[in-house]
Symmetry: C2
Subunit: 339 residues, 2 copies
């Protein structure tokens, strides 16, 4: 892929310790890709020493004086840190010097700065956060994951379009299926907003498969799962919590007494395969959608392998014209949305 | 426990095949408890034959001419099946001949009929569905799980009260902790309703621990997790879907080749312990709260072991004065809620 990614060297819980080896991994496995590492002078100096001449002009460095703290408010990050590594990375996208930006910094600040610097796409009212999840059939993308707590039906329709274009761009899926997250209790079938969103999606020309329920997400019932940010965030975090609990119970049971420990040794290759299969690091890299540029948010606690996936996802989205696809699809739908 | 449970013999995917052995199991393990089995004449005749004289006057039978179908609409069940096993079981609670009712029949119909027959408790606007989930620390109760899609802050407060009283009654927890399900994204911290509900809960005199996020549910951050029915239903079903996917992946990996199958044999006792620990059947039996009587809904696909847990939960709630506890707590809070 012929693409340049701006990488916030400082963001996340670990900063350069993670972002530098991840950048190296990415450039090694994508021989035509380029990167710009953005960070404080001393961090970049050290990185330059570590990289040596391996990547020549495929790797550039851009100094930024400040770093947005992980718990800093978006307002403070916007007002007081105009020369932050996060912001400079996004400005590289704005100026066209990079095709995408990646940061493991705090989500609120990343969203606010991205929105301020890049602006929204026409016809998109709200940005959304989309992330991949493993399913029985492969992977699905869920959005929104927390950027919007109160959504209208039109917002959910826009999420559907953006999600479908995301999957088309980075998974190379022709006409991805789109499902609307709803509840199947007999007494009631969703609230008014969700019902209306269903009608809009049905008329949208997207490959809409109708309502999906919580358990359908992991069955892989649709490539894209649309929901408001409150529901999406709860679904994602509940999943994280459950996976952690199950992993911890499994570890405890395999550690309970000598016999179990022997069983664990014997089962180790199997357990490792299982672990690899559900390794959440593969899915790292949530895409901030609706902006006039590709911005990907890595988990703050990502390791180098996980952060590399986020860089890869950003590069893939940019080199497959994610932004243009969304713009064109929204323009083609102008009539539908008003209906 | 000195309690009589009315059991809908016909409900669920399996009917009497499940409910009869579950009733036997319950009566055997609770020598002072009584049961009334409600169902069609032929089903009851067969059950009588199977039970013989084992339980004497601890077991009674009540004929009902009809059965609510699993996919029947609540309206149809209410209008066309006035002599259904579900309804007759609930009417036994109303008339005082039973202290609680249990059914594996369809949720919508059970809720509608319960509400119509038993009526709501004073000061409770909406019924809610609460269920236990396993956590790192034991178990927590989440509500609402799907009865209400649009909730006000006052409704969420009422859910908090009902959930706390439920845990006090059936887990014998003194001053159970109550958490409010929210999202922790930096950009936004929940919608207006949730913020207001937080203030009401803080002033309620309940043991309110503040906001909890999706992953906190399984960490056991609070004994009660309050949310609206849409969010709760998605969280529950997403968890079911994830657990099924992980179990299926684990089975697949242990079935992949001869070596893995040998490993599975060696690891079998450990895997069984693990499975028992997260056995969802233990948590079967969602409590319909807010009614003037104890009604418990079993999963439609429950087996006898699972259905017995639902009977046990109903008996425990009734014998520990769940309804009285909720009524008293709401009455004591009259001032708070208006504030």
């Amino acid at each position: 892929m012929d693409v340049t990614v701006a990488i916030d060297c400082m963001g996340g819980d670990h900063g350069a310790v993670v972002t530098v080896p991840a950048t190296r991994g990415f450039l090694r496995s994508h021989p035509r890709a380029k990167a710009v590492l953005v960070g404080r002078p001393e961090a970049l100096e050290q990185a330059k020493g570590e990289f040596g001449d391996e990547f020549g002009d495929r790797l550039n460095f851009q100094v930024a004086a400040e770093v947005v703290d992980m718990d800093e408010s978006p307002v403070s990050a916007m007002k007081n840190k105009k020369d932050s590594s996060m912001r400079v990375a996004i400005e590289l996208v704005k100026s066209g010097r990079a095709d995408a930006a990646v940061s493991a910094g705090n989500t609120g600040a990343l969203m606010a700065i991205s929105r301020f610097v890049l602006k929204m796409l026409p016809d998109i009212d709200r940005p959304a956060i989309a992330s991949a999840l493993p399913t029985m059939k492969g992977r699905s993308y869920v959005l929104d994951l927390g950027a919007n707590v109160d959504c209208s039906a039109a917002h959910l329709l826009q999420f559907g379009v953006m999600g479908a274009m995301l999957v088309a761009a980075i998974e190379h899926t022709d006409r991805p299926t789109v499902g609307l997250l709803n509840i199947g209790e007999e007494a009631i079938k969703g609230n008014e907003v969700v019902k209306q969103a269903g009608e809009l999606l049905r008329a949208s020309g997207l490959n809409f498969v109708g309502n999906v329920e919580g358990d359908d997400i992991y069955k892989g019932a649709s490539d894209v799962v649309v929901c408001d940010g409150f529901v999406g965030n709860v679904a994602l975090k509940t999943s994280e919590g459950l996976a952690q609990m199950l992993a911890s119970f499994l570890r405890e049971e395999f550690g309970r007494g000598l016999l179990s420990k022997c069983a664990a040794l014997v089962a180790l290759p199997v357990l490792k395969r299982f672990k690899r299969r559900v390794d959440h690091r593969i899915y790292n890299g949530a895409v901030l959608l609706g902006l006039r540029g590709v911005v990907v948010k890595s988990h703050g606690s990502a390791d180098a392998f996980a952060f590399e996936q986020a860089i890869y996802r950003a590069a893939e989205a940019a080199s497959n014209q994610l932004i243009e696809r969304i713009g064109e699809r929204m323009a083609a739908m102008d009539g539908v949305q008003q209906a």
